[in-house]
């Protein structure tokens, strides 16, 4: 058998896997990503899963998705819309029709396209016969039936057999993307290492999918994505949460400290706690606290005791930690607070992304309570900014808030693995035992940090606390003028961090018509949109901020090079508000979206064109 399909070489392609939350779509998605990475494609992924663990089967609420964007060109986002959709049931199809391109290939499990499932998905008409699929290449594959037939000889019960359906899909895609099926076999052998029977069954189903694809006429075209250009070296696929955890571990190592994480589980930050919990072999301790407050409080205690300490959370947890962050501010102890932002307020949209904690991070505490605020902008650079947050916290003796978000945390991309030997050493301001010049609030003249004398050290006994302290001596002081001095010092200490951070780099020309401004997790969409439009000849550039407080030194200078400026963020305009307060001469337009979704490149370009074409 076999046929000779037409092979189309594409620069990039977006594949979306969608099914019930129990269908294994996340696994199939990561399997597809790993294979893509293995053959050298650049990639970006994003899982889209429901807040419920197992919502009612077959309903829209239960649809779990995983989008993968691969390419031979540099990939910066998971893609606006999919070229290939795998829909395991009608609900998955219905939920995703608006997220796929015209003419997309849609692979469905025809065994689940019946009246019962249409009803569950809320379809009134049969979508396969009402004309709504016109213009798409629909592949109606009997996935369930063929999987069951294939799995039968392996003696699996039907439920277990049905769980291997995702491998049928995987096999189909190996063929569709002209990939070596051996890679899939290796993935499965590794994944189910301890269950050889399951490996055999899964591999058989994988082959069944591959063979099915090769045989049917519907797939007359296959895709070929060449290895990425302009990238070379060792890579791995990494999510933002994993990168954040590893950045903290790397910082601890470079500071000759062991890591203490005090956290409480919260979506979408939990994976960081889980990751650190399994890194005891690197000396890390994860303290799963009884609540968010105890999470940060234990971290503050561990910091006092001389560890690199961190706490991880999301918006509602950051609110609970506010009081304790104030304590870390006044005691001037190093502490990293990671806020993986999600849709709010309150419980809001736990599994969806948002950038709406910026004001909370900057100002959400009692009193004059300045902290350093950083924001990661890609899944992989969560590593760099977790490292940087730790470095600043330790060297400047201050709490640092690192903002990531649900999109970065769960999304993944290729990460060019660094050598930790090339990371800078971190040098906290430690004190020698019995240093008789030590005073708790004596400061380093350059950074204005106090020094870190650690319990157990001889001759350095002292007391810290939440009450205002006298300058230098650290004795409790209610003196009016001393309070002013201390408030100023705490502010100046944070302001001085500006001398230790890089300047803002503009992507594109440093002068022009329109400066697009972004911060944090929107980078991928913004840079794609700006680069596309530059190719079209527009005078547009991007300034993307990772350092929020303090802002880079050259920010005013960058702003001055452009006639118009637009601040794009996944909130109602918090960064725009912040910039207006800092740079009052400048006008800032806004582009905001608060739908629990990242920006689409298409909507960004549309907005930028509207501004640039209006003359």
């Amino acid at each position: 058998m076999g046929k000779n399909p037409k092979v189309i070489h594409v620069e990039d392609i977006v594949v979306k896997f969608a099914g019930d939350s129990g269908d294994g779509m996340q696994l199939t998605g990561s399997q597809f990503s790993d294979t893509s990475a293995f053959i050298g494609n650049d990639l970006s992924t994003f899982p889209d899963y429901p807040a419920e663990i197992r919502a009612p089967q077959g309903t829209i609420a239960g649809v779990s998705g995983f989008q993968v964007h691969i390419g031979e060109k540099e990939i910066t986002t998971p893609g606006d819309q999919a070229d290939v959709l795998v829909a395991m049931n009608p609900a998955a199809l219905k939920a995703n029709m608006k997220w796929i391109k015209n003419g997309a290939t849609i692979i469905i499990d025809i065994d689940h396209f019946d009246n019962k499932h249409y009803k569950k998905a809320g379809y009134v008409e049969d979508p396969l016969h009402d004309g709504s699929m016109e213009g798409y290449n629909v592949v109606k594959a009997p996935i369930t039936m063929l999987t069951r037939d294939t799995a039968k000889p392996f003696g699996l019960d039907q439920k277990t057999a049905d769980r291997t359906r995702n491998q049928f899909v995987a096999g189909l895609l190996y063929w569709l993307f002209n990939r070596d099926i051996k890679l899939g076999e290796d993935f499965l052998s590794n994944k189910f290492k301890s269950k050889p029977d399951l490996v055999k069954a899964n591999i058989a189903v994988l082959h069944a999918g591959y063979n099915y694809a090769e045989t049917i006429e519907a797939l007359s075209t296959t895709f070929m994505v060449d290895p990425v250009k302009n990238k070379k070296g060792l890579f791995r696929n990494i999510t933002g949460n994993q990168a954040t955890a590893w950045g903290l571990l790397a910082a601890a190592e470079r500071a000759d400290k062991s890591l203490f994480l005090g956290s409480y589980p919260i979506t979408p930050a939990t994976e960081i706690l889980q990751e650190i919990s399994s890194r005891k072999h690197l000396g890390a301790v994860a303290f799963q606290a009884e609540d968010e407050i105890a999470g940060i409080s234990s971290a503050i205690g561990a910091s006092f005791a001389g560890r690199l300490s961190a706490t991880t959370t999301s918006g509602p947890g950051l609110a609970l930690k506010g009081e304790a962050i104030g304590l870390a501010v006044i005691t001037e102890l190093p502490l990293v607070i990671v806020d993986v932002q999600r849709g709010g307020p309150s419980t809001g949209l736990p599994t969806k992304t948002e950038q709406s904690d910026l004001m909370q991070a900057l100002y959400g505490r009692s009193g004059e309570s300045p902290v350093v605020v950083l924001a990661a902008s890609t899944p992989a650079n969560c590593f760099d900014y977790a490292f940087e947050a730790s470095k600043i916290a330790l060297e400047h003796m201050t709490p640092v808030i690192l903002l990531t978000d649900g999109y970065l945390a769960n999304g993944s991309e290729l990460w060019n693995i660094p050598s930790t030997d090339n990371l800078p050493k971190i040098k906290p301001p430690l004190v020698e035992d019995n240093d008789d010049t030590y005073q708790p609030y004596k400061r380093d003249p350059e950074k204005l940090n106090r020094f870190w004398a650690i319990p157990g050290q001889e001759g350095l006994r002292h007391r810290v606390g939440g009450l205002e302290k006298e300058d230098v001596t650290g004795n409790v002081s209610h003196d009016a003028l001393n309070h002013q001095v201390m408030v100023n010092l705490r502010q100046q200490k944070v302001d001085k961090v500006v001398d230790f951070i890089p300047e803002l780099q503009v992507i594109g020309d440093s002068e022009g018509e329109l400066l697009v401004i972004g911060w944090g997790g929107t980078y991928g969409g913004l840079v794609s949109a700006v680069n596309d439009m530059r190719k079209e000849g527009y005078g547009i550039s991007l300034a993307h901020f990772n350092y929020i407080n303090p802002l880079p030194k050259n920010t005013a200078e960058v702003l001055s090079g452009f006639k118009k400026k637009i601040v794009c963020e996944i909130n109602m305009g918090q960064f725009a508000f912040y910039l207006r307060s800092k740079f009052q001469k400048h006008e800032f337009q806004q582009f905001n979206k608060v739908q629990g979704l990242p920006f689409f490149i298409s909507e960004l370009k549309e907005k930028f064109r509207e501004i640039l074409d209006a003359k």
């Binding site: 070379k232 590893w246 890194r279 690197l282 301790v285 409080s297 002292h462 939440g466």
Partner: protein, 345 residues
Amino acid sequence: MSEKIIETGTLSRKDFKLDTPVKWCAGCGAHAVLASIQGTIPETGVRKEDVVFVSGIGCSSRFPYYIDTYGFHSLHGRATAIASGIKTANPNLSVWVITGDGDSMAIGGNHFIHIIRRNINVNIILFNNKIYGLTKGQYSPTTPKGSITKTSPEGTIENSFQPGELAMGAQGTFFARVVDTDPKMMKDVLLKAAQHKGTSVVEVLLNCVIFANEVHKEITGKEVRDDHQVYLKHGEPMIFGKNRDKGIRYNCNKMEVVTIGEDGITEDDILVHDATNPDDSTHYNLVRMGLPEFPVAMGVVRAAESTVFESLMHDQVTNAQKHSKIKTVNDLINSGNVFRIDQKS
């Protein structure tokens, strides 16, 4: 992990005194506790530099400013959580928490039960004056029902907590009760608390001269104390009273007070205190005893063995370090699915 014990023969109470003025009211019971603790620490054999006092907020929580050790005056209710971090980060430290009935029973109730549940080796000294002192006289979770305070002008309508019941309910391994007017008892008990492996809770019945003066008078008053307190000592019968003729015994699974020499009762009928019994049901009954039916139990009610959180944590760390092939972050980031991309040009 074992505590570092070194020769400390030269340390005495005055080594732990600071020059800073102590700002508690004259006549406050806290002065006596400070003196007792300053006198006890030299006997624990721990290096001065290895001692850390952590407190929350409230009158009692000013304590770390008055003792010459490392100290952390923290947030209302959070001292136990901060202490958990300190002790887990460095198990070699001798960590003491100073807290009050508002700090530990109200705003810090959650952290209080969880440090006990984990059995982190920290000594919690709970100054129980049954009132909010620093905010000037509102009722606390331990204020007896019906008390008139600034926020209960018609009397409180809330049931009150017994700290000991909470400690037992949270699977506490050490609970003791002392009074601020008995320095010898305080020192004996504090030393035992310091030596216990696990979370020790010492409830100090403390007098607030301003807002709850003589709140414990019925227990601590010179005239009544012998009849109204039973000082529990491990291995000894629970005998009390001016004439040492009263005792506690079980009668059909119910505790009762009996008089030795009456109705054929002899000393042999009196319950012998077993503080180390893993079963805490008697300890639970003992902390619940109250006037007028019973004397109030003093001394170490419970001192049972159990696993200690930070020891197990560090055992896991050591074990993982010994067995994992991944020794550095470089090893970690290069483990698993790593791909080499080579440009074919």
